[in-house]
């Protein structure tokens, strides 16, 4: 019998305001906290700080590392409605800010999110609806990430949201414009289903501005309306023959594909544009069987805005690029397209780095093709605002107050790309969350005031510390070879295997979740200074452990004689609580507690679903560095023996793990011996890296040695 960690109530952060950056933590503060994890709410790791929805990355990665997949998704979805979609397509600013880059490579956060979100699916994670959902009805126009996020947040706050979607399927741009090879529809549906389960009504095939209008919604009893229609139409250029049926606005082209209506194309496709949407269009054209697909853009290779990986994969799939040319005319010949006439581009950006292309009209060239897709940007479609009374600004945009998310009419709100610069899914989700808060404030209090200040961000790791952190290679995601990819619409990159996901999650350094000193208990004894393998603690008046530097190994916590150091990411007394719980579950008879360093353990091991040894309560730890002598002796008061199974030398996530663990076991045995007990009741084996069979065998051997004199 073995158990995972107890309920840590990661998400409930009802705690006193304790600003760790500017005041000292005392034991009284800690006693007032339900969970020290609350301390981390006052200081964000860079991954969380950079995330537009500020998802608690460190916590959900940690939960993956412990095989607690459903809880992990709950933590993600606490902030991010579109966990599955973002697992596929997020631009992952978290990874760009990951401090692991100072050591080796960033943790593959997006891939881990994909792994866990899709593993759990829409049914496996918690749907927590408020007891009553009888607050006002709110209409949301558009079922994309912004609108659905807003609807979810309103439902969570007890409102009755109804989402109106003009297409027959909900999901917005992820549904209509992201190709299936990047985002399979069942993956998107997991998010939509989960959101709907919160009491969100979705009306599809309902285009506002036709049967229903904004004024009619307000008349029909909706207390507020949120506009979340995004950028629904493709920008086009007023060029000759631009309306030829084989000239596609990119969203039309992608939407046809999305709804399984094969767009008619020829064999020689030219995509105009150098962004990610252009890459989607070009790669889709390859899959439609075009003989030649080329992308022509104003920018050169370095300037083009598409992600590097997207460009590389397009190249692998046979897409070629023509840089520094701009379209002039679609040249037709007897009703068919013959070419796209282009002119040279001298420069794209001006001295102020603004988009301001300069052309060379003497350099005219016809690029042969029979189909053209224009992917030069998207624009909002304001058709639905006619006769609504909504004002537009001087540049033809929706009049909008970003401080309150309101349009010119106080009960009509807006979010997403209709009012923000073009961005990614997660940014739209953030905008949706914000507008829901605005609507709530407006309806409850009549005034809208945001405090957008973020907790402080943990700083960088100095090189001297980074150099002491053990390096572990990032798990590579398996991408199908290009010839297999272009043969159909199945996904191009494969999910992490469970083993790879656990390995990757355990690369997370848990920034800011490490040690914290309770100043009133610290005796300034220097023990933490002397045992820390990273050289982080400093004793000034009392010990000071910089949470920005601490690597969370827990050695100082276990060694501190004053019990003055706590972990910011674990409940105080975590090991002893888990031990008690695990032993209680054992049947009558001889009881053994096994503490196992879980760096190489499987998810099933962590959550107690793998084979154990009879009469053994297994307690998995991130590392045995976190196991104190007092924990071992405490376990002996509950059981007949203790086996500590650490990782072998150099095989754990933390330096000095094997040595420190061995010294502690020796100390526990000396104490037992000096007190006249059987010292063999505590055994050690350094076999935790050998997997379940090795661990079980080590435990059996250790048990057999317990009875020996």
């Amino acid at each position: 019998m073995n158990v995972g960690r107890g309920n840590l109530c990661y998400n409930s952060v009802a705690l006193r305001e304790i600003n760790m950056a500017h005041s000292d933590l005392t034991s009284r503060d800690v006693a007032s906290l339900a969970n020290p994890a609350g301390l981390m709410e006052n200081q964000y790791a860079p991954c969380r700080w950079a995330c537009p929805v500020h998802a608690d990355v460190r916590t959900y990665i940690q939960l993956v590392a412990e095989g607690r997949f459903a809880e992990s998704v709950d933590v993600i979805r606490n902030r991010l409605a579109f966990a599955c979609v973002c697992g596929r397509v997020c631009h992952h600013p978290c990874e760009k800010n990951c401090r692991r880059q100072d050591v080796d490579e960033a943790v593959a956060i997006r891939e881990l999110k994909r792994f866990v979100a899709e593993k759990v699916g829409s049914s496996g994670c918690t749907v927590s609806r408020p007891e009553t959902q009888n607050k006002a009805r709110v209409a949301i126009v558009g079922s994309g990430p912004a609108g659905m996020s807003a609807a979810l947040e309103l439902a969570r706050k007890g409102y009755r949201p109804t989402v109106f979607e003009k297409h027959h399927l909900a999901g917005g741009i992820p549904m209509t414009a992201i190709p299936k090879y990047r985002l399979p529809r069942d993956v998107l549906q997991m998010d939509v289903d989960w959101i709907v389960a919160h009491g969100v009504e979705v009306v599809t095939g309902a285009e506002i501005g036709k049967e229903r209008t904004l004024p009619s919604l307000l008349k029909d009893g909706f207390a507020a309306v949120i506009l979340a229609t995004g950028l629904a139409s493709s920008r086009m250029l007023p060029l000759p023959n631009i309306n030829h049926p084989r000239v596609y606005p990119v969203l039309d082209f992608l939407r046809e594909l999305a709804f399984d209506r094969q767009p008619a194309i020829g064999s020689d496709v030219l995509v105009v544009g150098g962004g990610n949407v252009a890459m989607d269009a070009a790669r889709s054209a390859v899959r439609l069987g075009a003989r030649r697909v080329r992308a022509v853009c104003l920018e050169n290779e370095q300037e083009m805005p598409a992600w590097e990986w997207e460009r590389t994969e397009a190249l692998e799939e046979g897409v070629t690029f023509i840089h520094r040319r701009g379209p002039v005319e679609v040249v037709t010949d007897g009703g068919s397209i013959r070419a796209l006439r282009t002119r040279g581009v001298k420069s794209v950006f001006d001295a102020d780095k603004r988009f301001n292309p300069q052309y060379d009209d003497s350099d005219i060239q016809d690029l042969e093709c029979d189909t053209v897709v224009f992917a030069i940007g998207q624009a909002p479609d304001f058709a639905f605002t006619h006769d609504s009374g909504l004002e537009m600004d001087s540049r033809g945009r929706l009049a909008f107050n970003p401080l309150t998310q309101q349009t010119s009419m106080p009960n009509i709100f807006a979010c997403g790309e209709i009012v923000t610069p073009p961005g990614s899914v997660v940014e739209a989700c953030a905008s949706g969350v914000r507008v829901a808060a605005a609507v709530d404030m407006h309806l409850q209090t009549g005034s809208i005031r945001f405090n957008d200040a973020l907790p402080e961000k943990i700083g960088t790791i100095p090189a001297v510390t980074a150099g002491k952190v053990l390096k572990f290679q990032r798990q590579a995601v398996d991408i199908a070879p290009a010839n297999e990819r272009v043969a159909g619409w199945s996904e191009v990159d494969h999910n992490l295997t469970e083993e790879a996901a656990l390995g990757e999650a355990r690369r997370c350094m848990g920034c800011g979740g490490g040690a914290e000193v309770m100043v009133d208990k610290c005796a300034a004894c220097m023990t933490c200074v002397r045992v820390c393998p990273f050289g982080i603690p400093k004793v000034t008046d009392v010990a000071r452990i910089d949470s920005a530097l601490c690597q969370s190994c827990g050695i100082c916590i276990a060694e501190c004689p004053a019990g003055a150091i706590i972990s910011r990411s674990l409940p105080v007394g975590d090991v002893q609580m888990r031990t008690r719980h695990a032993v209680e579950l054992l049947p009558a008879g001889r009881k053994i507690v096994a503490y196992i360093g879980g760096f190489k353990a499987s998810a099933a091991d962590w959550v107690g679903q793998s084979e154990s040894v009879e009469g053994v309560a297994k307690v998995y730890l991130a590392s045995t560095t976190r196991l104190a002598v007092s924990d071992m002796l405490h376990a002996l008061t509950l059981a007949d023996g203790v086996v500590v199974v650490g990782c072998g030398q150099g095989l754990d996530r933390y330096p000095q793990s094997a040595g420190r663990t061995s010294l502690r076991v020796d100390h526990a045995r000396r104490l037992l011996q000096s007190a006249g007990f059987n010292a063999n009741a505590v055994q050690i084996s350094l076999a935790a890296h050998e997997g379940l069979a090795g661990v079980n065998e080590a435990i059996r051997q250790a048990i057999s040695q317990m009875s020996q004199p």
């Binding site: 208990k521 005796a523 002796l633 008061t637 007190a675 007990f677």
Partner: protein, 229 residues
Amino acid sequence: MIVAELKPFDEIMAMLAGSRKVLVLGCGSCVTVCLSGGQKQAEELASLIRLRSQQTGMDITVDVDCITRQCDKEFFDNFKFDPRGYDAVVSLACGVGVGFMSREMPDLRILPGLNTTFYGANTAPGEWKEFCHGCGDCVLAWTGGICPIARCSKSLINGTCGGTNGGKCEVKPEMDCAWLLIYQRLRELGKLDEYRKIRPARDWRKDRGSGVRRLSRQELSQIDEEPRQ
């Protein structure tokens, strides 16, 4: 700093004979620093007592507490477990704490869990060494900072005895002869003239020869003046 170490467990259990409810009380100062009497060590001892209790059917209830210092009564306000509710308190303070607690709480059985051993300093991770004897009449100025009272088996003050043997002490062969160390140190300092001076017999009344020693800071004595109305 005062250094102490855990008493033999059987001795502690003998002291606890007949006690049903026991508080193990750590002290958050010197004995925490030398890893003998802090919160963690109190927890360890408590576990050992519980184990013995379980094995022998003694049915002892053990709680653990730790306060900043047991030698200042203001810290007694910080008990999380009231010591008055226990048959015995095993104090993991030095003898000062045990004695002071006993004086301040005369109704309680305050038992020493540690043997107080010396005034020392940390010389390597996990190692403490005696540096001072508390003799009341410091001589370190002319012994190169090496205390002959604490470190010479005979507390001599005018050089080695005849028992120095290859730099080691005749009383304890693994112990360095303090006076050889002093000689070497003074030679390094160019102060061997200090070594050549004959020191008169010490006044051992400043040690323990004339009873309990006191420190009296009159400028901090209690003021009984009534506040002006």
